[in-house]
Structures are given as C-alpha cells and as structure tokens.
C-alpha cells in the first residue's frame, strides 16, 4: 500500500505538472514577449506626453493664426511658412546671427578642448586637480556667467574696455557693433563649454591603446605626428558626438545673448538685432507680438535647420582622416 501510495504521489505530481506546463509556458512566452515593452513603456508614455504631443501640436499650431488676441483660431495652411521664407528679414537676420555665433564659438571651442585634453592626457603633477578644474565652469549657472561677462564687456566701466584703454586702443561699444557682440557672446559660450568637451575628449583618449603610440614612437613619429595620425582618427566618433551636441546647443543659443543686454527690449538682441538669435526671435514673436501660430512655424524651421546642420557636420566629421 505504502509503495502504491509512494508511487502514486509522484505520478500525480507529474501529471499535475504536465497539465500546468502548457499554461506556465504560455505565460512565459507572454512574459518574454511583452515584459520588455512594459519596461520601456514609462519612457514612451512620458515621451509621448511631453515630446511627441507638443511637437505634433506645434505642427498644427503652425498652420493656424492662433493668438491670444484672436477670439477664434482659423486654419491658414502654409501662410506662416510662406511669410517666413519670403517676407521676414528679421528672421533671416536671426539665422545669420545664430550661424555666425555658432561658427565663431564652436570652432575655437572644440579646437581648444582637443588641445587641452591632449595636454591633460600626459603625466602631470596634480593631474586630478587640473582635470577637475577644467570642468568647473559647467556647474556655474549660465545666467551668472552671462551677467558677469556682460559687466566685463560693459561700454563705460567694463574690464575689457579698461584693458584696451590701457594699451592705447579705443574702447569698443560691444553691443552696438555686430561682430564685437558676436565675439563677446562666443567667449561666454566657450568659457562654459570648453572644459566639458575637453573632458569628453580626455576620456576617449584614455581608451586609445598605448601600443599604437609606442609603435609610432619606435618608427620615429614625433608627438605632433602621433597626435594627428593616431589621436585624431581614433577620436572620430567622439568628435562627431561633440559636434552634434554643439550644433544643437549652438543653434539654440539663447540665455547668453538675452542677458548680454539688460532692461527693456532684451529679446530684440541689440538696437538693430545685431545679436538676436533664432530662439530669441521665436520668443519675441510669441510673447511680444502674440503670434503663436507664426512662432510655431519659426520653431519648426529651427528644428529642420538643426537636423540639417547636424547632418552636414556628421558628413564633414566622417571625412576626418578616414582616407589616411
């Protein structure tokens, strides 16, 4: 009897297990199939609510004449875009300013960052201190940087004009002259971002195998030659990354030029729009002129410009030493 029982029990269990197996298996299959989607769901829900919906809404609003001053919203088709492309010199002025300041700030910024990273990649005394120090400007608030720089570049009591005066040059009205204002704003951007890019380059440089440098040194390559023929090609993906990030940031330049002047009319970017960027113009249209539909069109064109510029930069950067 007891044997029977013993024999019966496992067989029962086996039978039960055999019955349960398809159910658990199908659950497992469901689990495997859907859990990953569940895990990424929160991101996509948040993305849909806070990014996809606003973008779709921007597209819709750009096709209307929406304004708090109009009691009704009417659909105007592509009128906003037609006006933007054919009859808005202020917008194109802002585009020129934005690209001008982008080139003037990004080129020296990435060059300097490369050189700094290269210097810090060698054995130095207190190298942790130096590596920390170059990253410091990132943690200062943009607003503070802009305020201090706008005092440095003040017309009457500014530090730069005082120095210029000291070496016998005429003071410059930094806000009146277009290129002077571009230069001043670019220095603000660079002061803040050179260290950040240098840190990224440094991290990438440390992952380059030392063997290559040793082999190059054995072949008699100089430090300079090693930099151009090993470091730069090895850094290509990183350079592309920093270029794209700088493009996105540079074409959205806003706080620095806005705070370069204080008082009434800051969004105008100077008396003749000398340093009004696209984002400043966007807010000018939206908040001063209350043309929300038109502002939507400006935002979309800015989006396309950034995408295009990122692509151009990517194609340019891909050519770096790839033929070497």
């Amino acid at each position: 009897m007891s044997l029977d029982l013993h024999r019966a029990a496992p067989s029962d269990r086996n039978r039960a297990a055999r019955h349960a197996q398809p159910r658990r298996a199908s659950f497992n299959r469901l689990d495997l199939k859907f859990s990953p989607y569940l895990y990424v769901l929160p991101f996509f829900v948040i993305f849909a609510v806070f990014s996809a919906y606003p973008i779709a809404y921007t597209v819709w609003i750009a096709l209307t004449d929406r304004s708090p001053l109009n009691s009704t919203i009417s659909f105007v088709g592509l009128d906003n875009f037609v006006e933007l492309f054919t009859n808005d010199p202020q917008f194109w002025n802002a585009v020129v300013n934005t690209f001008g300041m982008f080139v003037l700030s990004t080129v020296p910024q990435l060059m300097l960052a490369l050189l700094l990273a290269n210097a810090l990649n060698r054995r130095l005394r207190a190298q942790t201190f130096f590596r920390m120090a170059i990253a410091m400007p990132i943690i200062t608030s943009t607003a503070v940087v802009a305020l201090i720089f706008s005092m440095i570049y003040a017309k009457d009591f500014g530090l730069v004009n005082w120095l210029l005066d000291g070496i016998g040059l005429d003071p410059i009205d930094w806000r009146a002259n277009r290129y002077a204002s571009w230069f001043a704003i670019s220095t603000m951007v660079d002061w803040r971002w050179v260290g950040y890019n240098a840190l990224i380059y440094l991290a990438a440089m440390q992952s380059i195998s030392k063997d290559m440098y040793e082999a190059a040194a054995l072949d008699g390559a100089t430090r300079r030659r090693q930099f151009w023929s090993i470091t730069i090609p090895q850094l290509r993906p990183t350079i592309i990354f920093t270029l794209i990030i700088s493009t996105i940031g540079g074409l959205q330049l806003f706080t620095e030029p806005l705070l370069f002047t204080s008082g009434a009319g800051g969004l105008s970017g100077g008396s003749e729009g000398q340093f009004q960027t696209i984002t400043m113009y966007l807010l000018d249209v939206m908040n001063q002129r209350f043309r929300w539909g038109y502002a939507g069109a400006v935002a979309l064109v800015l989006f396309v410009l950034i995408a295009l510029m990122s692509l151009v930069n990517y194609l340019l950067a891909r050519r770096i030493s790839s033929d070497k």
């Binding site: 809404y57 009691s71 008082g263 105008s268 003749e272 984002t279 002129r289 939507g296 950034i306």
Partner: protein, 439 residues
Amino acid sequence: MSVPIRRRRLAAIAVVSAAVLVAATACGDDSPGSGDSKSDGPVTLVVDVFGDQGFGYEELYKQYQADHPNIKIQERGKGLGGGDYNTRLTQQITAGSGAGDVVALEEGTIVQFYAQADKFVNLADHGANELKGNFLPWKWEQGTTPDGKVLGLGTDVGSMALCYRSDLFKAAGLPTDREQVGALWPTWDQFIATGQRFAAADKKHKFVDSATNFYNVVLMQIAGQGTGYTYYDKSNKLVIGENPDIKAAYDMTTKMIGAGLSNNLQSFSNEWNAGFKNGTFATIACPAWMTGVIKGQAGDGAAGKWDIAKAPGNGGNWGGSFLAVPKSSKHQKEAIELAKFLTSAKGQIEAFKAVGNLPSSPQALADPTVADSTNDYFSKAPVGKIFAAGASELKPVYLGPKNNAVRTAVENSLRAIEQGKSAEEQWQAALKNGAAAGK
C-alpha cells in the same frame, strides 16, 4: 526647440490643471451650501503686481486682513519687470489658470486684454458703475472695453514732470529753484537749449538719461494734445507712418541726441540703474511713478540732490495701471471687494504715500494728504501740487493691442541713433520693424 517645448510642456501642465480645477469647482458648486462654507472658511487671495517698487500696498493688506479675519492676502511679482509680467499673465489668462485673484494691468497692455475681456469678471456686474465718480473720466474710459465691460479699476496715473539734479544745475551755473527751472523750458526746444547750456559748462555729466525715456514722454504729451492715439488709431489700424505725432516726437528726440545730451543708457537696464547711483545724468523725464524708481535706484546717498520741476509742454500722461479680476479666480466675490478697496480713494492715498504713485481718483487727488504733500527725498518738492495740477485735464491717449511690441521697435531704432547710426535710416528702420512687430 527646447524653449518652445518647455513652454508647451508648461502649457500642457496648465491645461491639465485647468481641467482639474474646472472639474473641482463644478463639483463644489453642485453641492448645496458650499457657497456658505467658502465665505466662512479662510480664503487666500493672490494679488499679482509688477515693478521694482511694487504697488505700495503692504499697509493696505495689513489693514484689510485685520478687518476681514477670514482673508489672507499674498502678493506676487514685486521686482518683476513689466514685460516679463505681461508675458506670464497673457499665458495664464489664455490657459485659464495660474493668474492671481486680483491682477494688475498696465496702461500699455490693457488694450491687449480687451480682446480677452470674456476671461475677466465684468466689474460692471458687481456694482462698479457706481464707482465711476471715483476715477478721472479718462482713466475710467481706459479701463472699459469698447462694448462697455468694466475690465479694470484704475490705480494710478503717470502725470508728468521733470526731475533734475539741483547740485549739478548749480555747478553748471543754471538756476536751482524749481519755479525758475520750470521757467527755463516752456517748450521742449527750450529744454534742449537749456541742455546745451548745461553741456557747455559741464563736460562730465550728460543732461538726459536716455533717448527712449525722453521720446516716450514727448510722444505721450504730443499725442495727448493731438490725435489722441499713437501707433494704432482707435480702430486698431497700425498708423505708425501716418500719425504726425510720432514723427514729431521722433524728430524732437533725434534733435536731443544730435545735441549730444543723451547719456545713452538703456532704460531699466543695469547700466541705467548704475547711472542713478553714480549720478551720471542731470535730468530725467518724470511720470509720477518715476519718483519711486529714482528714490529706489539712486538710494539715500542722493537724497536732497534731486528736485522736481514742471515738464516742458502742456502736461501729459505715461503709464499707470488697473486692477482686474480674472474669471479663473475661485474667490471672485472676495477678489472684487479687495480690488475695490485697493482702488478706493483711501487705498490710492496709501499707495501714493508708500511709493509715490499718483492717484487716479479725483477725491484722492484733492485730499490734503496728496494735494499738500511734499517729498523729502526730492528736496521737499510739493509733489502733490506739481503732479496733480495737470492730471484732471488730461485727455486719454489710446494705445493699441500690440503697443509694446511696436514701441520696442521704435525704441531700438532710437538706441541705434545713440550708438551713432544715421537718424534718417533709423526712422525708416523704425517704420519697417514697427510694422512687422504690429502685424
């Protein structure tokens, strides 16, 4: 792209919270007796104001809270510039959520809100018309929409005078007595001539703070005497090129810049504020509210150096505000009472004492506290007499819906002239950019 997205995120949040609020109030109204419990329970009223000096209501709040123990008042916006304030308010009114229970509307922007009058409580439905006699007729007219809704109750008016540094005048060999100083400049041309005399004697200081301040005051004066409107005519058509008053004020300003009198400081900028502290200019066109700005910026060190004289020309008004109650307020009844209290003759007198905002109520203007008042900071100048003199005879100047945007475009062109550009070219730029801004 990040900026608009962030804005839209805010808008999205605002829309959601507005929906929640609407749902909540709808429920509240349905349940019987909720009205009673509302007025009995503690009510917090939010008052939105702007400007470095605020509106000078602190004492009034204390008094009101003492008389109404169930009401707590919270003020926001002191220190916020008028432009930023207006941007935020426009978004809050459009979203139907987030605005205070009582909000200040500035003279230059109230017309913009005429288009959204349905988002505000029509104060005429709450007995405001009985108060009509408490306000100067033209101030009342500005606060009322073309179809007769009472949008806001007047707080102050910006009656004009001219503030000057008597110590600098003395050093330059000009008279310092305010009667004699006022007699120097019956017209703006003579004001510029006086400036040239000053400039010949004093090379270190400039005569006028900035072109834009000068221009705004001259424009509001000329327009008050002339067409009665500025960039927009009364049918809201942009007339920047056609209105002769604008060209006249512009030419007077370029003449002043050409005479080398301007200190070229952008108004309300850090440099402008520093100009008060360092005393780099001798005069500033002074609407009544400017006395509070001067005192705040120049500080105690300059007390007694400033004085006030009659402005050139024949009076005029620049600035002044209104209090309105948005429909988004959950305590409209209480908010309306508070707005009435703050804009009453008594409230306006208190605000005048606190920050120098000139009352828009004839009763308050006639009250000895205002009429006989002197300002110690301005060498005991009889401010009540100087500012109140012209206030009652003024004609209103109509400011169109995008007045501030167009004004900014014109001001920018004046700044460019200060920076050395040609006046003729800049007038063309003002016409072009002004038209674009008003589109």
